[in-house]
Amino acid sequence: MSALNENRKNAVLFTIALVIAAIYLFPLYWMYVTSLKTNSSIFAVPPEFLPGAPQWQTYALIWNESDILRYLKNSIFIATGVTLVTVIVGAGAAYVLARYRSIWIDIALFTILMLQVLPPSLMVTPIFVAFTSLGILEYPRIGTILAISAKTMPFFVILCRAAFMSIPRELEEAALVDGNSRAGAFVMIVLPLARNGILVAALLIFMQGFGEYVYSASLIADNRLQPASIGMTNYLQPNVVTWNAIMAFAATYVTPILAAFVLLQRKIVSGLTSGALK
């Protein structure tokens, strides 16, 4: 009897999960479908859930006629920069925060969490002013990388700190007694053991950098330096809105990242949830 109840409960929960997943994924689906429709069928009533004849030429069009390649290059440049800055600075910070115990460490952690709370739209004005007066906006993509890194840092530090804390201190101490220096033990013992955690965190940071909008929109004025997140909105022209082109652009933009996420999802989940010693 209870087994039957259990089964029914599982079925209900599974259905709810499916529905929620469908709601979340519907916009994604709609993006792909719309990108393959003709302009007239986009506005058909009732809406067409499957495109009649897929209009692949839309993809060829945006590939040839828009500057999507340039935009994507900029996105990759910014995402890579953000990841490098975040990982290099953040891993060191996370290690210190994981290994030293004092009231100052607790204060530092709290401050880091505070940073995570502040929305970019609030931060962007002071950052703009500061970067302008420092001359950093001469190199707008570098400025954007720094601004985004400040935003991604807390998340990374907290993930990375957890990875370091799961590594027993005695391993480092054994390395010290075996003849290693503090830095050597960090590089030879701690980093390899925390590798999975760090890689997963870095991947998430890369995705954040790749999709970032607010700082890029505010700090990069020159069209040629803008990333794809901005480039896409350039299609929203006042009079003619070519939805299928925008959706094809969007699909080209997010598909690689989605694919990476799907391929690596098992690693990502285990890297986030398990200790580093598995």
Partner: protein
Amino acid sequence: MTATDQKPQIEFIDVDKHYGSFHALKAINLAIPKGQFVALVGPSGCGKSTLLRTLAGLEKITSGTLNIAGERVNDIPPRKRDLAMVFQSYALYPHMNVRDNLTYALRLKGVSKAERARKADEVAAVIGLDNLLDRKPRELSGGQRQRVAMGRAIIREPKAFLFDEPLSNLDASLRVRMRKEIRALHDRIGSTSVYVTHDQIEAMTMADHVVVMQAGVIEQQGAPLTLYEKPVNRFVAGFIGSPAMNFVPATVDDTGQTIRLDLKGQPTIAIARRFPPGTHVVAGLRPEHVDIGDPDAAGYAPIKISAVEATGSATYLFSDDDPELIIVAAGGHSARAGDTVGFKIAPDRVHLFDPKTGITLGD
């Protein structure tokens, strides 16, 4: 012998260690000659590991002097102290196979790969790990991990070996076997060893020199039997020996040569030295030093038995008293719970302690 040979290999001079406001080591003085096997023993939290870690350089001492091989090492980092350490958790590097674990220290020293492989094979044969060199630590049993940890220490030729409760994660029979093996390795290599344990039997059976600690203080140090026969205070007397010494409050009689035990029936026993009549003392009676006989025979005091535990090799009798006495009788002893037996103890085997300070009286 030259003068340098007589210098202790390891020397703590008035060493203190504070963790913030917590005073973890108090005025430690300890000199360990080259080649000696020293055990640090004491209850959990007494500072044994802290002492070992200051020696390894993993903790800085707050004051005092620490010498290794005649050189002051207070400010020398662990990697330059040339010591090998076996951790309680073994601390094997999980991402390296057994061979790389064993030879990690050699690799840091810049020893060539071929030479490292040769050494690894040699050590693996010594500790019985020949077939496991390519395994990762997680693929080994507890006993095998322990052996790797040992191997990682002996592959070097360090100034001393440090052990922090290396056997506490093994089962009882393996522990007894490893006790002998570690001691045999020590003798073969001719090294200096400092061995931390909370198990007094381990300390007594393995070491040349036993250091008993409590609350950051060295209570007594000496040869194992010296600690057993001449404990300087009640703590050491109670800590060394198993089952533990019985402590009974007592008063010196009018003659000054016997004491009345504060037990049922106020039994009287003779002591070896004369004390002022009326002095309050605590008598220490080792369970294995008490003779059991006919309660009516001359020289025997009666005592009622509340429980009996026979292990075969020995029979433990528990008295119906407060404090309860434990007596070790011969295996197969016929006493039963409820019986009254006679007990006797040789005067020179009665330990007497000051009831307030716990310091041994006499001598």
